[in-house]
Symmetry: C2
Subunit: 159 residues, 2 copies
C-alpha cells in the first residue's frame, strides 16, 4: 500500500492525533470498556499512519513494539476498535482507519481515491437517512452501514 493520507485537506496532524486518542479514552471509560495496551497501541498506530492500514501492516508494527506477532492479535484489537466506533473498516481496501470522531454519533461515508489511495471520512447523515428510508420501505432493519465511494480526490482530479 502506498502513501495515502486520511483526508484531503492539510491540517495539524500531531495535534488531531493526540486529541482523538484522548477522546477515545474518555469514550472507553464512559462505556466501561477496557482500552488495554494492545488496543490502545493499535489505535495509536492507525492514528500515526494517518491512512488506512491493512491488518498485517498493523500486526507488523505491534510485533515490533513487543506485542504478539500472530494475525489474531491484530484482528482482535482492530475488531474491538471497530466494534466500539473507534476505528472503521474500509472494505474496498481490506484495511482499517482510525475514526476521527469517536464518541460522536456519526454515519461516515468513505471517499477513496483510486489514484493515490487517500481515504476521506465524509459526513453522511443525509445519505444514511435516505438509505434508512429505502430500507424501511422494504421492511429491513438497518443496523450497520458501509458507504464507500471510489473516484478521484481533488488533488488527483486536477490536470
Amino acid at each position: 500500500m502506498t502513501a495515502a493520507p486520511l483526508a484531503f485537506a492539510e491540517h495539524d496532524h500531531s495535534a488531531c492525533s493526540g486529541e482523538v486518542l484522548a477522546r477515545a479514552e474518555r469514550v472507553c471509560r464512559g462505556a466501561g470498556l477496557r482500552l488495554t495496551p494492545v488496543r490502545r497501541r493499535t489505535l495509536e498506530i492507525l492514528l500515526e499512519a494517518h491512512r488506512a492500514l491493512g491488518a498485517y501492516e498493523v500486526l507488523e508494527r505491534l510485533g515490533a513494539d513487543g506485542f504478539g506477532q500472530q494475525p489474531p492479535v491484530a484482528y482482535r484489537a482492530l475488531d474491538f476498535l471497530v466494534e466500539h466506533g473507534l476505528a472503521h473498516r474500509v472494505r474496498r481496501l481490506n484495511a482499517f482507519a482510525a475514526c476521527m470522531h469517536p464518541g460522536e454519533a456519526h454515519a461516515p461515508a468513505f471517499l477513496i481515491c483510486r489514484a493515490c489511495d487517500a481515504v476521506a471520512e465524509a459526513p453522511a447523515g443525509a445519505v444514511r437517512s435516505a438509505l434508512d428510508a429505502e430500507a424501511a420501505r422494504l421492511g429491513f432493519t438497518v443496523e450497520r452501514v458501509s458507504l464507500e465511494a471510489v473516484g478521484l480526490c481533488p488533488a488527483c482530479a486536477a490536470p
Copy 2:
C-alpha cells in the same frame, strides 16, 4: 455459506432468471461484448443460486461443468460481469450476486440480513444523489459506489 435468497419477497424465480439472462445477452450484443460460454455460465450459476456466491463456490460449479478449475477462471468471468453491470460484488460477504436489472441505469444498495445471509438489491437513487452531493462539496469525483447495509430482513426480524 448458508441458504440466502437474493430478495425478501417471494416471486417466480425460474421466470425472472431466464428473463434476466436474456436481458444480459441483449446488453452484451448492444455493447459489442462477448458473453462467452464461461461468462454466460457464470451468470447462470449466480442466477440459479439466487443468492450471493463466493468466487470459489462459482469455481466449483464451473469446474463441474467442464470449465477450468483454477481461481482465475472464476475471477475473470466474475470481474467481467461486474465490470459490465451484469453482476455485483458484495464486499461485506466477499461474494458476488447476479444483477437483477442489467442494462438499466441503477445505483443499487445491498441489504444484507445478518441472520439468514439474504441479500436484497434495493433501489438507491436518492441515496446515491445524497452521496454525490456530499462528495462534490469536498471536491471528490465519484466513479463507483458500494452501499451495503447489514441488519435484519423482514422474516428474521419477526418474532
